[in-house]
Amino acid sequence: MSPGWMPCGDSGARPMQHILDYEFVLRNAWLIPALPLVSFAIVGLFIRPRSAKLSGFVATAAVFASAVLAWILAAGYFRSAEGGHAALVPWSMEWLRFQENLSASVGVLVDPISVLLMVVVTTVSFLVHLYSIGYMHGDNGFGRFFTFLNLFTFSMLGLVVAPNIVQMYVCWELVGVSSFLLIGFYYEKPSAVAACKKAFIVTRFADLGFMIGVLILGYYGYSFFTGAGSTAVGQPFDFAYLTSPAFLEKFSQVATGVPGLTLITVAMVLVYMGAAGKSAMFPLHIWLPDAMEGPTPVSALIHAATMVVAGVYLVARMFPVFAASEQALMVVAGVGAFTSLFAAVIGCTQDDIKRVLAFSTLSQLGYMMFALGVSTVHEAAGYTASMFHLFTHAFFKALLFLGAGAVIHAVHENDIWKMGGLARKMPVTHATFLIATLSIAGIYPFAGFFSKDEILAAALYGGHPIIFGTGLLVAGLTAFYMWRIYFITFWGKARCEKAGHAHEAPVVMLVPLVVLAALSVVSGFVPFAEYVYLGEKPPHEGINMGVAVPGTIAGVLGIAIAWFLYAGDAGRASALVARMGGSYRHIRNKFYFDEIYIFVTKRVVFAFVAAPIAWFDRHVVDGGVNLTAWCTRTSGAVLRYLQTGQVQTYGAWFVTGVLFVTLILWKMFM
């Protein structure tokens, strides 16, 4: 009755050379997410309790296999379909059946952006696995760490390949929980515990919006689906159906009670709330900086390269639906632009190397978001640019985190003011970090330059000059704060004893750095617009000088200011800080958002909702029950006085009763 897990096809005895060809991989694309899942189960249940080392090895091998498959798939997919990259669903099965014509399936969707993300996720994940073998060496939870990493990789891949919104939601939550587990990896540390709870609860709150959005889409998808009959594509929850013009045309007509507000806007803003939670958009950004409590490889994989882009991916995946509502797109663009600026400003003031990178991630995610927000179905340059930036950002940001991890590993300290002079002691780390810093600052020919350029171009030519200006400003700020940490960390003299004794990281950690550095250089040259686009394939454009020049100037200016303030003695910087006074303090304290949230939850929700309910239950509702019991008991106590214990009194009552009854019977029958 239930479709099995095995897909169709004769995967029996095939010659080895066929195993790795495109056709085979495409047919068995489900293997890409399934391998980490299987490895998660096996490592978690059987290997981890016995041998930590072996668990690391098996977990890494499984992700490596996935990565190989993903690369083969990508190579074949982008090469094979020249005329247009069709969305394929090579495998799916019914998973959850709600009623006739309404079910959620699990499946694998192969289309340009999912293939792109598969490559990014498996590659970065594999490199991080490899790196972690060195980084986590000797940790008590070595096996546990790899188990969680595998779980995360599976969930993220499941999210990426989701052909319908329910699978997306399912993996979305799984990604959230693996993030929770990994942030709280050092579970004995109170700050890590607080951070993991915060991350989960904030994203969960955002997911509430996503959930309601899914309900709305599910309902209207279903009701228009039955109406649409045979012309509909797929099932009501499928993206193919939800983004189809036939559905959107009807759905965008549905009104809410409020004039000027269509239901599609409400639904998409709710879905965007989920996306904003995962991608840590303002005002749900507060969890990401704290998430740096997790081990550094985790920050690299989850909180920089992959999970946090899930929100961007969701918006891209449902882009035609967003595009059907102008207001929803405005929200996406506005929130994205604001976050990118907001986070960049805060990033300039932080001293913890990982926190700076976290704010930089926020800022870059904002970039990707507003790139989506400024494009439309017809003018989809921003869509391409956003995915392009997602692609390059994954590599250079992972590299930055892994480099920071190598530094932290060597110095045992997160504070940049305790580092310094590491360039000579850690040459490979320094070189790769420099490449990444150049890349994120948007300097030609590094990857960041190309993608940032496209985003800015999309904003400018999409008719959003304010957003373009913001983007330009953010580009400068990004260059400034990244070079700030670069100069402080690697230049000058060692500022504490541990930094003086720092050593280069082991080879197993350096290999991923080098690979990622190479990717950060070359990924910019990928002819991205050939592969990922919406609608018609756009004409090939070279570098747009009108955007590239100001962008580069902004970047160079940022670098120059950073050099001026931090490369030499720090006196200039502290003088500036002193002059900024109060506003610097507000920025450094992240505009007190954490405090506001804590106030709202602890002082408002807990004190004015939860505590009164608990009290009400104990005293009023339960009091009501006890009151009933008391009434019963009291009436019993009163009636008790009728029981004299004197047989003769009872006898008298009895006789009176008998006489009375006799009298009644007499009256009735006589």
Binding site: G645, Q646, Q648, G651
Partner: protein, 110 residues
């Protein structure tokens, strides 16, 4: 007068008067006596009035059978047994509490 008495056939109502009076006396005693033995005797009166009723009804309703008389014998036996048990209890109580006053026997209430 003699003739009247000789020919007088008392009806069932006349006969029933005696048990009725007996029963009333029994109930009155049952409710008012304070001595337990007195109560027991009163109860005997009431029971015997019932036995007498059986005999009377047997005579007037089914004269051919003796069911009622048999029943009265049962009642006499049961009453005797009851007296045995009751007096035994009272003896024990008297030993225990040195009184036969039922108004003071209210242990159940406490």
């Amino acid at each position: 007068m003699i003739e009247f008495l000789a020919s007088y056939e008392p009806g069932v109502v006349t006969w029933l008067m005696l048990p009725a009076v007996l029963f009333a006396i029994g109930i009155y005693g049952l409710l008012t006596r304070r001595n337990a033995v007195g109560i027991l005797i009163s109860a005997e009166l009431a029971i015997n009035s019932a036995a007498m009723n059986f005999v009377i009804f047997n005579r007037f309703i089914t004269p051919a059978k003796v069911d009622g008389q048999v029943m009265s014998l049962f009642i006499i036996a049961a009453a005797a047994a009851e007296v045995v048990v009751g007096v035994a209890i009272f003896v024990m109580l008297f030993k225990h509490r040195r009184t036969m006053d039922v108004t003071r026997m209210d242990a159940m209430r406490r």
